[in-house]
Amino acid sequence: MSKLSNRLMKTSPIVISLVSFVLAILVSCVIMLLCGYDPIFAYSVIIEGSLGSVRSLTNTLIQATPLIFTGLAFMVGKKATLINLGVEGQMYTGAMVAALVGMTPLPLPGILHLLLALVCGVIGGGLAGALIGFLKVRFGSNEVITTTMTNFIIINFCDYLVNYPLKAEGAVAQTNKIVDGALLGKMIPGYQLTWAIVIAVLAALIVKFVLEKTRFGYEVRAVGLNMKAAETAGIKVGGVMMKAMLFSGALAGLCGAVHVTSVGKRFISGFSPGYGFSGISVAALASDSPLGIILAGIIFGALKTGAMYLNMMSQIPTEFVSVIQALVVIFVSAPLLIRALIGADRKPKKGGRSHAE
């Protein structure tokens, strides 16, 4: 018995993620049935719409791209005990800075111009993140408030910029277009997909490497798990937190920069449907593993693309897909609930070491 339960405890994260995903889908089937819709039809449409053709596959990857970035950004903060709800604002900063650089005609070859825009976006996002870290370290300001507040401030400020000083000709609140050379190239002609997804995957690999293999990663873990012990061991806790926030913000900034240089082609007011917050769900589904985040991003991207297709093909409200997403997040983060539901919960629970993170 005990051996069995041990094995369940150990192998769980992936299995649990899978099981909870399936469970979320089953539960939403039930809800759909209750609302009088045909779930099998709905899911076949979603799958077709997200994976069924090159077009839908590329759309899925386009949707996945920002989610991977923001998932990574949130996760990096969390590792250092910081709940970075400011990913959205940091992403806006990165997007705005990158758009500014990108739309300014510079005597540079396109690729360098693009690189410069991305780097500036990363710096912009990173600084926005570091500001949170600074307030935390210097004044002990709780990051949940500071990020919430800076989100409002940054988003409003960007909105101001695109409505007044940086507004492009015309009736839309947006900046001028980024010069053609500084846009990310398309991966397949005729499709919207750009190299952005590759950058996202690279970012995930880099994050994985940094967290597992470097001194910074080690210090982040120590600080995240026991700040006092880290301090005693000569680790500069404040510095590590600042760096973690800088890193997290930089990833968010990269998200924004990549977005404006690919899908957006310019900074458009309200370009984000809350990518920053979706990142939290993505990180949750991936149980904070960088590679998992790629997969989770793609899964959520597929759901979103599928939702649009569902929207096209049927009467079923797209909110169903949001319900599925929410259920996935909740179930995935509740391995104990899953165990209880699938009955693997016979014995252990009390005192059992919680699953390795």
């Binding site: 077009r55 759309n59 839309v172 899908v263 007011s269 984000s272 929207n311 009467q315």
Partner: protein
């Protein structure tokens, strides 16, 4: 109103019917999606009407943000079965431009935009003409004997979000007010959200407390709070978009109408009748596409005001009066344009 959406796209049945040459139309809605009782709902109603009248089939997609427009267009264009793809509003210009290049043979219509592209029909509307007549109404009403008006010469406009489009609605309203009542003070404020009805209400209340008696909202669902405030303060508020007068018929004297449904309907009609052409078409007060409506309102328009409104409407339709478009032009426009019988 709407609500009768269930009769819209009947997917399962639709698939069976496609044997004959049923026309297929697709629409990429604006962000905010269905249920906004405005742009999106009205477009939907237009298509529903077209479906009933011409037996077309239509499908729609509700993008979550501006980032999803292009994907929406491409999904439809790629399917290759749609005779016309309709888009809404200038913020889709970029997406449409990108997609049109890849699908040069696909017909597109875009409502409320003046995008010039091959095979694209753009129906351009004028915000300033939409709100102007309600502005006139407010300018005259605020000093009138209307039961809920007061002696202060103050009116207001409330925006959902501050963006260039909605600002030209403000300009139109303010121009209307000052055209007939140059001394009138026009308060403006922004909610910062299209869904924050409570804040909309609070802002409206503070305007009413400052002496305003007519408020034009351009604030989506936040505007519902404005109506509520009108009721509570016993003042007036104008609707916007679809006819909203029935929501609070005793407090909403009129709506600054925009007949998006008709514009959409007309595009489909042109398609059916084979008269669809590319190019920019203007849809303003003259075309009766935007303007003033007091249908369904219980508020009685004083006869003199009604007469003036009718008179001004005629002037605009005849081209005698051209309304300014931006804040910068407003002051000089007002000083050079004053209403005289």
């Amino acid at each position: 109103g709407n609500g009768g959406k269930q009769g819209g796209t009947d997917n399962n049945g639709g698939a069976a019917n496609t044997g004959d040459k049923q026309l297929k139309v697709a629409i990429v809605l604006s962000t905010g999606g269905l249920g906004d009782k405005n742009f999106n709902d009205m477009s939907y109603d237009g298509l529903t009407q077209a479906k009933a009248d011409f037996g077309i089939d239509f499908q729609y997609v509700e993008p979550e943000s501006a980032s999803d427009f292009e994907a929406g267009y491409r999904q439809f264009a790629d399917a290759g079965v749609y005779d016309l793809i309709i888009g809404l509003a200038t913020d889709q210009n970029d997406a449409l431009t990108a997609v049109q290049a890849d699908y040069p043979d696909q017909k597109f219509s875009i409502i409320d935009s003046s995008l010039e592209l091959p095979n694209v029909s753009a129906v351009s509307t004028k915000w300033q003409e939409q709100t102007f007549l309600c502005g006139v109404y407010a300018g005259l009403g605020t000093l009138s004997e209307m039961p809920k008006a007061n002696a202060d010469n103050v009116v207001g406009v409330i925006l959902g979000m501050d963006n260039p489009n909605l600002r030209s609605g403000v300009v139109g309203f303010e121009a209307g007010v000052k055209y007939v009542n140059p001394e009138c003070e026009v308060l403006t404020a922004t909610v910062g959200s299209f869904n924050d009805s409570d804040k909309g209400k609070n802002i409206a209340m503070s305007m009413y407390n400052k002496g305003a008696d007519f408020i034009q909202h351009i604030a989506g669902a936040s505007g519902l709070g404005v109506f509520n405030a009108a009721k509570e303060a016993d003042r007036y508020a104008f609707g916007v978009g679809g006819n909203q007068n029935a929501i609070e018929p005793d407090y909403i004297p009129a709506t600054s109408i925009r007949n998006v449904n008709e514009m959409v309907y007309n595009e489909v009609k042109a398609l059916v009748e084979g008269t669809w052409t590319e190019g920019v078409k203007i849809s303003g007060l003259k075309e009766e596409a935007v303007g003033y409506s007091n249908e369904f309102s219980n508020v009685e328009v004083p006869e003199d005001i009604a007469a003036v409104i009718a008179d001004i409407k005629a002037k605009i339709q005849s081209g005698e009066l051209v309304i300014c478009e931006t804040e910068d032009e407003l002051d000089s426009w007002v000083s050079s344009n004053q209403y005289t019988k």
